[in-house]
């Protein structure tokens, strides 16, 4: 079930159709206090084998977007817009349709591996179940495939461990199992929703490696959701920055990191701790907190926290407009003026870090 499309450079080759195309997706939740607009119009294209990083604070709507695509939001959620997996529209598709797509063509790795696995079944059983959900194979064949998958994601003694229950595994090991379940049927699209957030720092890198390995093994395109710009830098081809339920900047990793045109992205980059800081230098957080998504005030939602704010910002919400040829877009009234601002490249930090660790 591997993709036969010509690989080419991800996302640029002409004539290659995107595996996942999201257009104007918006999600809101009715609550006692009114409508919470969690996602307010997200669009992106995911090309075959491409890795798209979606970055934003918690509450920016990045997880809700993905759950909407997977059809996993609670029934109370109101979803509008479109998300196409190949030619198949996902938004509003009936359960019976989604059932055959989920886990086979589009898979998801969730944030919390501790609670993601059913506590009463062995992990081998749960993996085999995922295989048998889409392939008419014998129980034995599914069990064998489960062991292979466990081996692939780096679980030692996979054969013996398959009969163990989730509570007998560490968080990192459980996340490997979840990844194994996600790739069990060679999906075209793999969505990883903050896959390392709930884990110890020490195993985060391993899980990212496993995820990358799994992606390459299955030739899947991947959406990597995170609030950690450092994680995205290493893995992603393109980045989508979200704020208050909307994309505020999108572009290649280099464009975002070296020539960002959006004050929020600049703030995120500036808030990363850096090794070349002078000793004892304080972290530089973005002041304030994200806006409530209930009764959002008109204007740019970031303006109360923005240092480049002008009068226009409080009246009109900026649109996501192209700021440089090739798909770099930003939503800021002053993106032109930000061009001159050259932030010190953040990736240097990682380079120095790697040198020091070497």
């Amino acid at each position: 079930m591997t993709l036969t499309d010509s690989p080419g450079t991800a996302g640029t080759a002409a004539g290659v159709k995107p595996v996942l195309e999201v257009r104007d997706l918006s999600v809101s939740f009715p609550t006692d206090d009114g409508l919470v607009q969690a996602v307010r119009g997200v669009s992106y294209r995911l090309m075959p084998r491409e890795v798209l990083g979606i970055v934003g604070e918690s509450g920016s709507g990045k997880s809700v977007t993905s759950l909407a695509i997977m059809g996993l939001l609670p029934r109370t959620a109101r979803i509008a817009g479109s998300a196409c997996l190949g030619d198949q529209e996902l938004i509003g598709a009936p359960y019976s349709t989604m059932q055959h797509l989920r886990g086979r063509r589009i898979s998801m790795v969730f944030q919390d591996p501790i609670s993601s696995l059913n506590p009463v079944y062995s992990i081998g059983w749960q993996l085999a179940e995922a295989v048998r959900a889409h392939h008419d194979v014998s129980k034995q064949a599914a069990a064998d495939r489960a062991v292979d998958l466990l081996q692939l994601v780096g679980i030692p003694n996979a054969k013996e461990r398959a009969s163990n229950y989730p509570h007998e595994f560490s968080g990192g090991m459980r996340q490997r199992v979840v990844i194994a379940i996600a790739i069990a049927n060679d999906p075209e699209v793999l969505i990883a929703d903050e896959p390392t957030t709930a884990l110890d720092v020490t195993v985060q890198a391993q899980i990212l490696e496993t995820l990358d390995l799994a992606r390459r093994e299955t030739n899947a395109a991947m959406v990597l959701i995170t609030h950690d710009l450092g994680v995205v830098a290493g893995v992603a081809d393109r980045v989508l920055v979200m704020y208050a339920g909307k994309p505020v900047e999108t572009g290649t990793v280099d464009e975002i990191y070296y020539s960002s045109r959006m004050p929020y992205t600049l703030g995120l980059l500036a808030s990363l701790p850096r090794l070349d800081d002078r000793k004892g230098g304080a972290l530089r957080p973005i002041p304030g907190s994200p806006p409530s998504l209930l009764n959002l005030a008109p204007g740019c939602p970031f303006s109360p926290r923005c240092t480049y704010r002008g009068d226009v910002c409080d009246e009109q919400e900026p649109e996501l407009l192209e700021v440089a040829p090739g798909g770099h877009r930003a939503a800021c009234h002053f993106s032109d003026q930000l061009e001159q601002r050259r932030e010190a490249p953040v990736l240097e930090t990682d380079a120095t870090l790697q040198e020091e660790l070497a």
Partner: protein, 314 residues
């Protein structure tokens, strides 16, 4: 769906850390905790109606003499009459007005149940709080004791005590004490569980670091956070106690003549259920009505006091 949640630090502070910050905290205005609880309770329409019905019922039975022409001991000339304007619930074979008897029975049953709720909540809370707060060996011992009592059907204990204590005289106060002596077990368990988890919270640790005494921690930090469950469970005890008392009286081991109870009235009416059904129907219906309204009030309180059960309107 953690993504939809925007925790506001000031809300967390205002409500006590025990509250989970949920989607509700998108509120634009900040409301005080009690206003929030009241608002949520008022949204539960059935609970509000139930509270009104229950209070009206209690008031009607408490002040029965002032508005109803008969008392439970008045003997009228109307023998075994069905419901009519003169006797809305009919009369029994000796000419007693059933409405007057039901009012008297409801008064006793409700007062006994309220007394049971107050006594058992007070004792159960203290017992559970101490057990949960100190934990360890004392906790094990105290909870084993509770478990042991629960191994014997409580109705059997009630019957044994009801038949023997005070010579089985059926005095309402004695019956209330007997009921209370078993009703505190559930509350103790719940409060103990709550305290066990509450005492591990960071703010308790913080209070301890600041040198707060155990007494201060229990009364200023833990108890206020347990108020919700305590109130909800006290409500449930009222309903359970009404049912237990009427059952006990029905079986002949609870309240006895000359006092009266709704259970006693049903027992008297049961023999006439096919010939004079009103004698059996009305007292039973009143029991159901009282228990039902209390249960609905309890449900409304639970919704209002337990923010984890926030419902999102579809």
């Amino acid at each position: 769906m953690t993504d939809v949640t925007v925790p506001k630090p000031d809300m967390i502070k205002a409500d006590g850390p025990q509250r989970d910050v949920s989607s509700r905290d998108f509120t634009v205005r900040r409301r005080s905790q009690s206003a929030l609880v009241l608002r949520r309770f008022l949204q539960h329409r059935l609970a509000v109606i139930s509270l009104v019905v229950f209070l009206v019922l209690v008031l009607l039975s408490l002040f029965a003499e002032t508005w109803w022409q008969y008392t439970s001991t008045t003997i009228t000339d109307d023998l075994s009459q069905g419901p009519s304007l003169k006797h809305p619930m009919g009369t029994d074979s000796t000419g007693h007005d059933l409405l007057a008897k039901v009012l008297a029975g409801a008064r006793v049953s409700v007062l006994v149940a309220l007394l049971v709720a107050v006594l058992s909540t007070a004792f159960g809370t203290v017992f559970g709080a101490l057990s949960g707060f100190y934990g360890g060996r004392a906790d094990t011992l105290m909870m084993r004791f509770v478990d042991l009592i629960l191994t014997v059907p409580s109705l059997a204990i009630l019957i044994t005590l009801g038949a023997t204590i005070a010579g089985g005289g059926g005095d309402p106060i004695v019956i209330a004490l007997i009921l209370a002596s078993l009703s505190w077990l559930q509350i103790a368990r719940i409060i103990r569980g709550l305290f066990l988890s509450l005492r591990e919270k960071e703010y308790v640790e913080a209070a301890r670091c600041l040198g707060a005494s155990n007494r201060r921690i229990i009364f200023r930090h833990l108890l206020p956070n347990a108020v919700g469950p305590i109130i909800v469970n006290a409500t449930i005890v009222v309903a359970v106690a009404i049912l237990a008392e009427t059952a006990l009286s029905f079986l002949g081991f609870g309240i006895k003549f000359p006092s009266t109870s709704l259970g006693l009235l049903v027992a008297e009416g049961q023999s006439a259920a096919s010939t004079r059904p009103w004698l059996f129907y009305f007292p039973g219906l009143v029991i159901v009505l009282i228990a039902l309204t209390i249960n609905f009030v309890g449900d409304g309180l639970r919704d209002a006091l337990d923010p984890q059960q926030n419902r999102v309107r579809a």
